[in-house]
């Protein structure tokens, strides 16, 4: 018996860099939502775990021509070619997987054995390794989210587009007899936390959702598009140098020539 099941979706984000102020609310909201561990001393950023990370870009010029731009970087949930995203292809344990139904790259932490191939394969540095078991300050265990399983030492973790929120939203829809979610029922934590409204989340192939129109904006670009990773995070910027910074443009190249998988 094959039942009528959910329509194919491609969940993704459009992040308006013209609106982003670099406040970091998305990073905080993400860590709180997903029980992301931290240490007493977080000065070594190579060892910090930040599923959502705000980078600061600059145009390389000196004052008064210097300009900066903040760029929030979650997992890109690359589709690659037909779901073969870089990390999924290299994982020897099937701990990470591309779901054609939602377009989300999953990370099953109980299956991961920590070889870190995926971290090497990811061109966005979106994956993080747990070098230690998480240690929470006294009493903080009580404020952890029960919907997200905390990770242990020796496994890789990354942004999941707050997939537990999808599961809960779907459960609510199911109890009302629906198989399809409304746009506002499933929104990740960073999207809701952004005070500037710079992040928009939705189904990139659903014509009725905001992200569908936004990704066609002339300001839109994706990171490292020429690698063919086919990421599902679109960025909007009216500044040309930002758009060029997104994909290592050669000085001779014209902005916007790299639009492979649009």
């Amino acid at each position: 018996m094959t039942q009528e099941y959910r329509k194919e979706k491609k969940y993704g984000m459009v992040i308006d860099l013209d609106k982003c102020t670099g406040c970091g609310a998305c990073m905080v909201a993400c860590m709180a939502e997903n029980n992301v561990p931290f240490r007493d001393n977080e000065t070594d950023k190579l060892k910090s775990i930040t599923w959502m990370r705000v980078y600061q870009l600059n145009n390389g010029k000196s004052y008064p021509n210097e300009e900066i731009c903040y760029l929030p970087r979650p997992c890109m949930h690359c589709e690659g070619h037909n779901g073969h995203s870089p990390c999924v292809t290299v994982c020897p344990a099937i701990a990470t997987d591309y779901d054609r139904e939602t377009g989300i790259v999953s990370q099953i932490i109980t299956r991961c054995f920590g070889c870190r191939y995926c971290m090497g394969a990811c061109p966005y540095h979106a994956r993080y390794f747990n070098w230690w078991d998480p240690v929470w300050p006294d009493g903080m265990e009580k404020s952890l989210s029960p919907n997200v399983s905390p990770r242990m030492r020796g496994v890789v973790e990354k942004c999941t587009f707050c997939f537990h929120r999808y599961q809960l939203a779907y459960e609510k829809a199911a109890s009302e007899g629906r198989r399809e979610l409304r746009e506002n029922e499933y929104q990740p934590s960073c999207t809701q936390a952004c005070p500037a409204g710079a992040i928009t989340f939705g189904d990139l192939i659903n014509k009725n959702q905001a992200v569908y129109k936004m990704k066609k904006d002339p300001r839109a670009f994706r990171l490292l598009e020429r690698l063919g990773t086919n990421p599902k995070i679109y960025y909007l910027s009216s500044r040309e140098w930002v758009r060029r910074a997104g994909d290592n443009y050669h000085p001779d190249e014209e902005t916007g020539i790299v639009k492979n998988h649009r």
């Binding site: 099937i94 779901d99 054609r100 939602t102 989300i104 099953i108 919907n147 399983s149 459960e171 007899g177």
Partner: protein, 233 residues
């Protein structure tokens, strides 16, 4: 002087013996090998299938013996009378004291268990520390609503005929993992990967097999089965 000769004399017959035995008993050794293999194999199976599970699992009694069958005759809405869905679609699971109190403010029947329940828990306002047979690990997300409301499945498909039981079976749990034995399954057939009833086990492969059969979804790129993030979190 004579000792050297004696030794030489002694060694000769010994050598002859050794040669003759190795030739004569060639088949006997093979027979013994097979016999010992069978004995060893049986012993390993006995230890692995009977002794080890006994050591691995420990039993606990439920705090109270609950009679499902009797309650089923008294409630109107079947299982969902006590095991209901909350408004946000989540499943309430094992009832809390608040639901029991609706009927059991005072002792109603004449069973010892009910008297104990009222005395020990209701009057003190204390929750009953039920041991949950089907509790899944922390990394698992299971939506009752999706299975009951959308897929229209029966409770029995996964939980068996608990509604017709008159007493609660002992709770068995794995001493290493702490998980309930109902997840792995108790039927000895399970060791061979077979099962008689759909509710014999609740392991990942059982979920995956049913999802494959019922939905036919192949959304996972790596496995060509249903996606990992359907049940994992």
């Amino acid at each position: 002087m004579s000792t050297v000769d004696d030794k030489a004399n002694e060694i000769e017959p010994f050598d002859n013996k050794a040669e003759s035995t190795s030739v004569n008993n060639g088949n006997g050794i093979a027979g013994f090998t097979i016999l010992f293999f069978i004995i060893g194999f049986t012993a390993s199976l006995f230890i692995g299938w009977i002794v080890f599970p006994k050591l691995l699992y420990s039993k606990k009694k439920q705090p109270l013996d609950f009679n499902h069958e009797m309650h089923m005759t008294l409630v109107k809405n079947g299982c969902e009378s006590c095991h209901f869905f909350r408004e946000d679609g989540t499943y309430s699971g094992v009832p809390k004291l608040a639901q029991c109190i609706d009927c059991h403010q005072e002792v109603q029947g004449d069973t010892g268990n009910e008297a104990l329940f009222v005395e020990k828990y209701v009057s003190k306002g204390k929750e009953v520390p039920w041991l949950i047979y089907s509790r899944q690990p922390d990394c698992v997300f299971f939506s009752h609503a999706a299975h009951i409301k959308l897929a229209k499945m029966d409770c029995e498909t996964c939980h068996g005929h608990i509604g017709q039981s008159t007493s609660l079976k002992p709770y068995e749990y794995n001493l290493i993992t702490g998980y309930s034995r109902d997840i792995w399954g108790k039927n000895p057939k399970n060791y061979l990967g077979l099962k008689t009833n759909t509710y014999d086990r609740m392991k990942m492969n059982d979920c995956a097999a049913c999802h494959m059969e019922e939905t036919g979804r192949k959304s996972s790129v790596s496995t060509e089965k249903d996606g990992c993030f359907v049940c994992h979190k």
